[in-house]
């Protein structure tokens, strides 16, 4: 790993002051992490964990009580530090009175791009995000997916070293999610950009990220490579078989339970290959039963997340 992180957060603490009496509410406590050049890092946490607050501190939208944040070696308070950053907020809200290309032109001007550079980038990005047909359309007429895509385009107009996305897949339909996911992957793997994004849509993490940082209750809960967090190999098998009689199914595999998705189908989970052999032999010996499928089960980030924060554990973290 490189010695010079592109983002370095050290001991970050943030307190919100709420209401007339400015009651203090700590939202981040001693959060530290770093992101290296070229990484794709997922920032995970349940709702209200402090993901957006951390991103806003990095981007200079929020002040903070303690800690230090550096972007490409520059203090995050320095507006020049953001010259190498592209950011897309969650639920992107843009100037809806502007047309698509006017909006990108405005963002290009904020990055002090020349007129020629702006025109070239607008053409290129509109093409990249598939909005060439809508460049003269006002943003108020854009669909949610189109807004998400123009959000990505504005994030990339300065050809940033670091692209930060806050919940980029939020509220998108499956097609939109796949498109955004593919785009993030392309940015990271083909263009070599550092991608840092927060999300609570866990399956996407495994597809895109090299590493995850987990936060909950305003505190860092863990960080690491996905390959370290999720042990490789098969954790268990799920056997699906058909049996019209419950007694036969129970006799073959006592731990089996009906498949809620298919009538006369039964499911059984077995932990290792020895038990799998036993279960298969028992099913074959029992008349009136036939095997439908055997599916190897791997551990997913969702399982890890549920273990940490599921069923009220989130409250315990808070």
């Amino acid at each position: 790993m490189s010695e010079n992180p592109v983002i370095q957060v050290e001991g970050l603490s943030k307190i919100f002051r709420i209401g007339f009496w400015m009651k203090q509410k700590p939202v981040l406590s001693n959060v530290s992490f770093s992101i290296q050049k070229g990484e794709c890092v997922g920032f995970l946490g349940p709702n209200g964990a402090g993901k957006t607050t951390t991103l806003k501190c990095i981007l200079g939208l929020l002040t903070y009580e303690h800690g230090r944040i550096q972007i490409m070696g520059k203090d995050a308070h320095d507006s020049r530090a953001r010259a190498s950053v592209g950011f897309m907020p969650d639920n992107p809200y843009f100037y809806d009175h502007l047309k698509g290309e006017e909006f990108l032109d405005f963002i290009g001007r904020l990055h002090s791009l020349s007129g020629a550079a702006r025109r070239r980038k607008i053409d290129e990005l509109m093409e990249l995000v598939g909005l060439s047909h809508a460049r003269k359309l006002e943003l108020r007429k854009y669909s949610k997916g189109m807004l998400q895509r123009i959000g990505i385009a504005q994030c990339l107009i300065n050809d940033p070293e670091i692209a930060i996305f806050d919940e980029p897949m939020e509220g998108l339909d499956p097609i939109g999610r796949k498109e955004v996911r593919d785009l993030l992957r392309r940015l990271n793997r083909e263009q070599g950009k550092t991608v840092f994004f927060s999300t609570h849509i866990l399956p996407d993490i495994e597809v895109i990220c090299d590493r995850v940082i987990i936060i909950a209750g305003g505190e860092l809960q863990g960080a690491g490579l996905l390959s370290d967090l999720l042990p490789p190999g098969i954790q268990s098998w799920e056997v699906c078989f058909r049996s019209e009689a419950e007694t036969s199914a129970r006799r073959a595999v006592p731990a089996a339970h009906p498949d809620p998705a298919s009538r006369n189908h039964w499911l059984a989970t077995v932990s290792d290959s020895q038990n799998l052999q036993k279960a298969l032999a028992s099913i074959q010996e029992t008349p009136g039963i036939e095997i439908v499928s055997i599916t190897p089960q791997r551990r997913h980030i969702e399982d890890l997340f549920y273990e940490k924060f599921g069923s009220g554990k989130q409250e315990a973290v808070k």
Partner: protein, 257 residues
């Protein structure tokens, strides 16, 4: 820096011009101007005097309201619609953002006042009433007043809600319009030293808009006071500059949640 301020200013101008509220306000101002011509035609008094008083007064008041309503919403709307996140996460300083929004507001007001001025000029030309030499300085003085009112509104909205900012700005404008009375009171003999000090202190805290006012002089074709061309620009620069500076300091510390 100038490029970024200019970009924000142009975007603000575009947004305000495309805003329906602005169109409605324009209509309101133009209606007052035309109404003044109608009132003047119905009265036996001096036609030009009535038109100038009513229309310039109408322009002034309608633009003051437009200024207050639009300026107090400039920052609030950006924060509420979260568009500020898109701008301030770019290499843009908060001071540049404030100056850009303010400059966009001033350009919008310039467009508004020019349109209203053209309506008054049309009315006068149509009625063969000659415009005196004080007409244009009077229009500029209204614009100067709008600049200061916009700066007051920007200052309050840098830390407060649009509703509160609007009320406070309106209060400052009313008090500023009446500040001339305080100035005269400070010269009245027979008051105690404490009262005089209090009056002077309050006077210093208020922009004395009465010193910018040339509307009455237009009707009678009187020239502005001799020191007007020095005093008026300094007044506008000093008040708007210091209020904007305070707005920048306050907005710089504000958390954008």
């Amino acid at each position: 820096m100038i490029g970024r301020i200019w970009a924000i200013a142009l975007n603000t101008l575009r947004e305000l011009v495309r805003d329906r509220v602005l169109a409605v306000s324009f209509f309101f101002g133009v209606a007052i101007t035309i109404f003044s011509g109608y009132v003047a035609a119905k009265t036996p008094l001096n036609w030009g005097e009535i038109v100038m008083n009513v229309s310039l007064g109408g322009i002034n008041i309608s633009l003051i309201f437009i200024t207050i309503i639009m300026t107090v919403n400039l920052l609030a709307k950006e924060i509420e619609k979260k568009t500020v996140f898109t701008v301030l996460t770019k290499p843009v300083r908060r001071a540049e953002f404030i100056f850009g929004k303010f400059a966009g507001m001033l350009m919008t007001l310039a467009v508004a006042i020019v349109i209203m001025m053209l309506v008054v000029m049309w009315l006068c030309t149509k009625s063969a009433w000659p415009l005196g030499p004080v007409f244009f300085p009077a229009i500029l003085s209204i614009y100067g007043e709008l600049i200061v009112v916009a700066a007051v509104a920007m200052f309050f909205s840098s830390f407060s809600t649009p509703y509160v900012s609007g009320l406070l700005t309106l209060a400052v404008w009313i008090c500023g319009t009446l500040a001339g009375i305080l100035r005269k009171m400070a010269n009245v003999e027979g008051m105690s030293a404490e009262t005089l000090r209090a009056i002077r202190a309050i006077y210093l805290l208020l922009p004395d808009f009465s010193r910018l006012n040339l509307k009455d002089r237009v009707a009678y074709n009187l020239p502005p006071p001799s020191d007007y061309y020095v005093y008026a620009p300094l007044f506008v620069l000093a008040w708007s500059g210091s209020l904007l500076l305070l707005a920048v300091i306050l907005f710089d510390r504000r958390d954008l949640k």
